[in-house]
Each structure stands twice: as C-alpha cells, then as structure tokens.
Symmetry: C3
Subunit: 348 residues, 3 copies
C-alpha cells in the first residue's frame, strides 16, 4: 500500500507545513470520512468547523485556514487546494481497471468490421456490419454498435452502451454505462389517420474528447446530424434531442434536457434538471441555472434562472416579491390610517 | 447516390418552382447545415434570415416566403412544407438497417418459447421460458424478455431493452434502446419494523402502435396492469409508474413522469419534464406545459402550466406579477404624495 | 386458479362482511378495472363514487364506507385496508419468477471470481476478475459486474444492470433493470488547456436492504465512497452524484437527483422530480416536495417546497400572492377614490 509522510506531501504540492511532518497517510478521503491514516482537504475557507471536527491525519488547506485550530492534525497550506488534491489523488489512486486488447469470450463481431490495433471488445458485446473502431479503443461488455458506425481512437465505451447504426464518434470519447446514442428522434405528424412517425434518417456525430454520463441519450437527427462538438462534458441522464447542436466546451449537468433543433453555442453551461426549448439558440457562455427552462434564444454570456428562465435581476426581483408585497401592504395600511385621520380632521 | 433536380422535386411535391430548375441535389439537410448540393426547407415564414444565409441549393418554402430574397437558390413553394419534406426525406433516406430473420449467434432462447415467422433475435439476446413472439418482430441484440411475456407482430425492440416477465405487447410496438418494461412499481408500507416492500404482482400491457423512447421505464402494476393504450407515443427518459393508464393517442415528451395510479384520458399531451401526481385523472385532450406539474384532476381539454399547474389565464396573471407589482407600487407612491399634499393644504 | 369466497376473505383479514358471503373471486384488481370475479378495495373513504361505479364482486373498504351504496357487491369492512389488501395480494399473486441456481448459458464468469452457494448467474451476464458474490444472490441476464466488486447474500440484480469495478453491495439489495452503479462522478477542472477530467478513484457502497429502481444511476466517488445506507428505497431514474451520503430509511422518488457531496440524514424523503444542491445537508426526516429544489442545508424535520425550496408557510404565502395582490390592488383603488373625495371636499 502506498504511504507518504506529511513532509513528502508538502514538498510535492509545494505547500507550507505546520504540525508534525512525520505523520504518514495511505490514502485520500473527504474531510467528514477521513481517518487518522488518511489525507484530506478543506477547499473552502468557510468550512473551518469541518476541519476542527475531522479525524484526518493530514489536511490540505487554503491560506485562509493557515491559522485554524486543527488539533494534532498536520496542516499543509496550499496556493491552490484543488490542484493539490488532484495531484495527491493521482498518487494514491488505485490502479485503474485494465482492459486487455482482444476480442473477449462471447463477443459477436461481424467479419466486415474493421477493428484497430489494441482494441478491447468486451465479453458479449455485439459489433455490427461495416463498423470501424479506431486503435486503442475499449468497447465494454454487453455493448451494441450498429452497422456502419465509426468510432475513433482511444475511446472508452463502458459496458451496456448502445450506439445505433451510421453514427460517428471522434477520438478520446468516453461513454458511461447505459448511454444510448442514435435512438430515433421524437417526430410525428398528426394526421386524420392518426399519429404518423416521421422517419429519422440522420445520424449522431460526437467529436473528440466528449464524455457522456450514465444512461444519457442522444437522439438521431431527422436528417443531417445531431452534433456534440469537441470537449463537451455531459453528466448522467441528460437528454439531447434530434438535430440539436451542442457547442465546444459546453457542460450539461445531470438530468437536463435539450429539445429538438436547439443550438448551444460554445461554452454553455446547463445546470442540473434544466431544460432548453426547441429551435432556439443560447449564445456562447450562457449559464442556465438548475431546474430552470430557457424558452427563447438569448445573447452570449446570458445568465438565466427560473421557469421560464429570465435574467438574474428579473429573477431576483420576482423571487423577492413576497417581502416587497408585505412592505407595500403595510404602506397601504398606513395610508388608510392617514386618510381616515385626514377625513376626521376635515370633519371636525 | 440518389440525385434529383429541382424540377423533379417540384413535380413530386406539387410545388411551384422559382429559380434554376436544373439544380441537382443529393440529400436533405437543415437550413443551417445544408450545402449547395442539398435540399433544405424553411417551415416557418418568420425564418427568412435563415433562408437568406443558407448555402442550400434548393429550398422548400411556404407561400409566405415565395417572394423572399433567396440569392441563387432555387425555391419550391409548397402548400404544406412539412408534408413535402417528409416526402423528400423518404426519397433520400439511406436504406434502413436490415435485421435478417433468424436467431443470431450468442442469443439464448428457451426451448419453450414460441417464436413467430420471420422473427429476428439479435446476438446475445435472452428469451425466457414460455415467451411468445409474433411474426416479423425484431428483438435487438442484448435484449432480455422475461418468462411468459407475449410480444405481438411486427414489433421493433431495439438493442439492450429489458422486458420483464408476464408483460403483454401488441403489434407494431417500437421500443428504443435501454427501455425497461415491467420493473417493480415503487410500493412500500412504513411499519414499526421498517420499510416493507409491497409485492408488485401485476403486469404492463402495451397496445398496438405504441413507440417508447430510449431509457424510458414503465413499471409493473401492484396488481392488474399498468396500461399504455394504442397509438401512444413516448419520448426518451419518461417514467410511467405502476397502475398508470395512458389513453390512446397521448404524447409524453422527454423526461416527463406520471405517478402511480394516475389516468390520462385519450389524446393527452405531457410536455418535456412535466409531472403528473398520483391517483388523479387528466381529461381527454389535456395539455400540460413543459416543466409543469399537474397536482389534481382536470376536465377534458384543459391547458395547464406551472408548479403546481394552473389554467393558462391564472398562470399568465401570476407570471406578470412583477410588472403589476411595480405599477401598483408607483400608484401607492403617488397616493402618498397626494395625501401629503392634502395634509399640507389642510394645515395651511 | 386460486379461488376464495367473501366469507373466507373476511375471516382471513378479520373484517366485517356485508352482502352475499358466498361470492367467489379469483384475483385482485383496482376498483376501476376489477370484474365481478375479482376482489378490489377502496383505500380512501372519499372515493365512494368509484365504489358505486365498480364492477368488482367483493370490495375491501374502511369504516367510513361501511354504509355506502355498493349495489350487489359484497363489502368487507377492515380496520386497515392497506394491510388487508397486502394480505390478499400475497394470496392471489402469481408465483414469482424463479431463477434456478447455476451459471446459465452464455454467461462469462472470470475464473478468479468467488461465487457463493445457490447463486444464479443469468445468460450472457459478465462477471469480472476477483468479483465476490454472496450465497443466494441472483445476477440477471446481461448484467455486468466489474473487477473486485463484492455483492452480498440474497441480492436480486435484475437483467441488464451495470455495476462497475470495486463497488460494495450489502445483503438483500435489489437493483432493477438498467441501473448503473459506479459510473464516474462528474468532475472537471477548468484550465487554460481546456476542461480536464478529475479522476474518480473512489467507490460506491450500498448497504443492506436497499432497493433501486430501473435506470437509476449512482456515481463513483471522487475518492472515498458514495454511500447509500441501509434500508434506503430509490425509485426509477434517480440520479445520485459522487460522494453523496444517503441516510438510512430515506426514500427517493422517481426522477429526483442529488448533486455531489450532499448528505441526507436518516429518513429523508425526496418527492418526484425534486433536486438537492451539492455540498449541503438535509436534516433527518426532512421532506422535499415534488419538483422542488433544496438549495441550502436545513434542520431535521424540515418540510420544503418550491424553486428554490422554502418552508411550507413561505411557499403558501408566495403561492397565494396573486389573490393577495388582487385584494391589495382593490384597496388601493378604494384609497384613490377616497382621496379624490377628500380633495373635492377640501376644494368645496
């Protein structure tokens, strides 16, 4: 088991040590759960109570906590706590799971598929006709890759992912378990003869360095493509509808959804459980708050909250209405009294 | 590759051509993404800017755009743009994926299962005891069909779908990847001895022509059935709880949810991320807005918005409160001034 | 087929019979759907109309309905209708699906895995290196269990569940189809070089008697563990982020979500589609209403509603604003008239 002293850690993260430099730790844990043999951290200087209460042996802290009461813990004061934590996690992390190259037992790979060098195809995965898989990619157990789909190099497709036919994935794409790429978009015509399905004949294109969380779905375009541009990060259970375009470096947090043909420009952030209306465009860098719903297009750098979403200033005004109302109500009571007074005076 | 001239297209969709009739296109794409070799369309007459900016070679438009500035594009003016697009998509669509009849390698089919004619059972699918599958149905790779479940004719069950025991599916049912039919309903008794599971002994029944999107779930009834009636269309990540009844031709859009024992009468529309409370009934044709939550039963043809949902008129009044409040606040200020004036006059 | 008379049922549930004691039933169904050969129940005394309209042969009712007009139905009046229903469901329930011990065809079990006595490993399931599975546990068809994961005794892991590496499940855990345990938490650093993935090196720990509904996801901790304590019940499509702690006996209803590092103390209830912000603590017994979002920590026994969630009293005040506003608006109109009157009088 990996072990490091507080001194060794302080040297590595270029921090300032206070307390016993010889305390040794064997892992990283949260400030609430860490034991005396573990390293922890307090990222926010407000959390001094957690620091005091913790059983951690060694704690990485920011400058604001340099003088905090830490009992017999060893503190290491860092410029950038987050970066220091990341560094130490890399040291103490257990070895990642290894996926040996080769086609594992039970996998069914169509003979027409072109499989790159060093590819791992997990047990009971199914690879369709004319599929292309780039070098170093891992296809997890139980995955399905439909005909003519192309997957780039060094992708990690976790178990039980479904990628339907004719989709295109770039390099270094990560798809977590249960993700579905290329299910049909939701399109119907309401006719006299009932609800008629509109064929969804397009594809999904996912560019380099995209990561998509467990059980999220990206629907196939009605025509053309649903397009997730490079370096987009998507959390669990996010729904991306047909013909949506998600701009580079956008971040879509858990359980949010984007309706058909909406476009997110570069660097948009959708917080958890938010929603974006169909056929609208969110300007670059727009931030949509958790549980909010953007109903219309907005310029770059917008900050939107509420149902329907509005600018922060309007949202705060609306949110404060009960207090404002109470004050106004009191004012009116006051006026009533004054008028009664005037009336009395007048009638004297 | 399929190719058609603007003239041929105009003839096919019975549209009126303006511009070069000989321009040839090889596919359909959105107005934003189309190239000079592609056909596109503008469904909404307001989107004239998109028409002007597009690189599409040929564009289907409504009458309102007949005179729009389209540069050197060829326009085809149509009665019904949507219908024309559908027609052209059918022409240019790539051949759909083919699922050859037969039991594919790795599939495990219980000998007691009765499999109809022309059925495709995908690789590594698992078909349980006494399952019945009707003629022409496709069961995708990696699917699980539990014991005694019956699936009708010409259904398409996409890969990695799970259908638990004793459920009943009609004909022409489409289930997209990751759908779960017949997981246990969420039922417990809170007792002195803890939280005790209530057995979910019913089934899920799905009638003809129902389509269900990726990763949606329909829970097994506590007793009797959870019932999705014919021609219901369900989008991705929709949650239908135990003993719910969804009326014919209802449309459930992405990420909405229906709590236990609720009933939707015919033709109800639940917009994205909306919710329906348990044990209530939404009258036929009711429309529930996106992100709204229906908390109580409502008559047919209701239009409901908000949290909790209320009629449109009430919702709009509530939504306009900040502006109304500001006006009232100014009025009160005005009154204060008037009263002060009166007082001054009185004291003269 | 099982058959019982009303008399036999009344004796079993210790209820008081009124009507024909010899009516026989062969199953249980809802009051709306029951036929003359079925037993039903009315749990809520308000639902007298449903009782009258029902075709059920025998109906379990509470005392408040003892005198209700039930036509020729036989009524059985019970102290506790819910308990009586549960008792009768147990009698009439079809035999549960049986999962015979043994490794089924197509399953791929790593030779290093330690499989307990009487374990069922479903067809085409994949069990990784050094996995431990306790006695009597069922692993459904198509499941994936990653390396070094340990699963306790008598668990039921339904088909197509994914449990990633190094996770820990206790005894009597039930996971419904499509559940994903141990996908990576959603963690990134925003750097000059782009969005850099923070390794998620922790695990998911799920204690005894936890049940998790279809297509829910519980993410792996950044370090340490994401922890679902014993007797927690989770519905479908619930998202639990990295490093979350869910206290014993908590109940998480469909489509709710908990952001990273939040803690729920014992017995918290999150209603459907609700959300919990990251890094906050909800005190024991807190109830968060449907579609509401808890944005900050709260003391035990809190009742919270709204977006953002607030105490019930505040929520109701806010919700009643339109009516209050209308009243105040009328009052102001009244004052305007009075002032005009005063002014007129003064100028006489």
């Amino acid at each position: 088991m990996k072990q490091m002293t507080a001194r060794e850690i302080a040297d590595m993260v270029k921090g300032t040590l206070s307390g016993n430099p010889d305390r040794a730790v064997t892992g990283v844990n949260s400030i609430k759960e860490a034991s005396a043999e573990q390293l922890s951290f307090v990222g926010n200087d407000h959390y001094v109570a957690q620091l005091t209460a913790s059983k951690a042996g060694v704690v990485l802290v920011g400058k604001g906590l340099a003088e905090a009461d830490a009992g017999d813990k060893t503190l290491i004061v860092c410029e950038n706590v987050d970066a220091a934590v990341a560094e130490m996690l890399a040291v103490f992390a257990p070895a990642p799971a290894v996926y040996a190259p080769g086609i594992q037992p039970g996998a069914v790979v169509d003979p027409s598929a072109r499989i790159g060098e060093g590819v791992h195809i997990g047990s009971n995965a199914v690879i369709g006709r004319d599929v292309v898989i780039g070098g170093g990619t891992v296809i997890g157990a139980g995955c399905y890759v439909g005909e003519k789909t192309a997957i780039g190099n060094k992708c990690t497709i976790y178990p039980n992912v479904t990628i339907m036919h004719r989709c295109k994935l770039g390099n270094n794409v990560i798809l977590h378990p249960g993700v579905v790429i290329g299910g049909d978009g939701f399109g119907y015509q309401f006719t006299d003869k009932g609800i008629v399905k509109v064929p969804q004949t397009g594809i999904v294109q996912i560019d380099d360095n995209v990561e998509i969380g467990a059980n999220s779905t990206v629907d196939r375009a009605r025509f053309g493509r649903t397009w997730i541009k490079h370096d987009v990060k998507i959390d669990n259970m996010v729904m991306v509808a047909h013909n949506v375009i998600v701009g580079e470096y956008s971040v879509l947090i858990a359980q949010c959804g984007i309706a058909g043909s909406a476009e997110l420009e570069q660097g948009v952030i959708l917080a958890a459980q938010s929603g974006v209306n169909g056929h609208i465009t969110l300007g670059a860098g727009t931030k949509l708050a958790a549980t909010s719903a953007a109903s219309k297009s907005c310029p770059p750098q917008s900050v939107l909250l509420g149902l329907p979403a509005e600018p922060q200033r309007d949202f705060l005004y609306r949110h404060a209405l009960p207090k404002k109302f109470e004050r106004l109500s009191n004012k009116v009571k006051d006026l009533e009294a004054k008028i009664a007074g005037l009336k009395a005076e007048l009638n004297k």
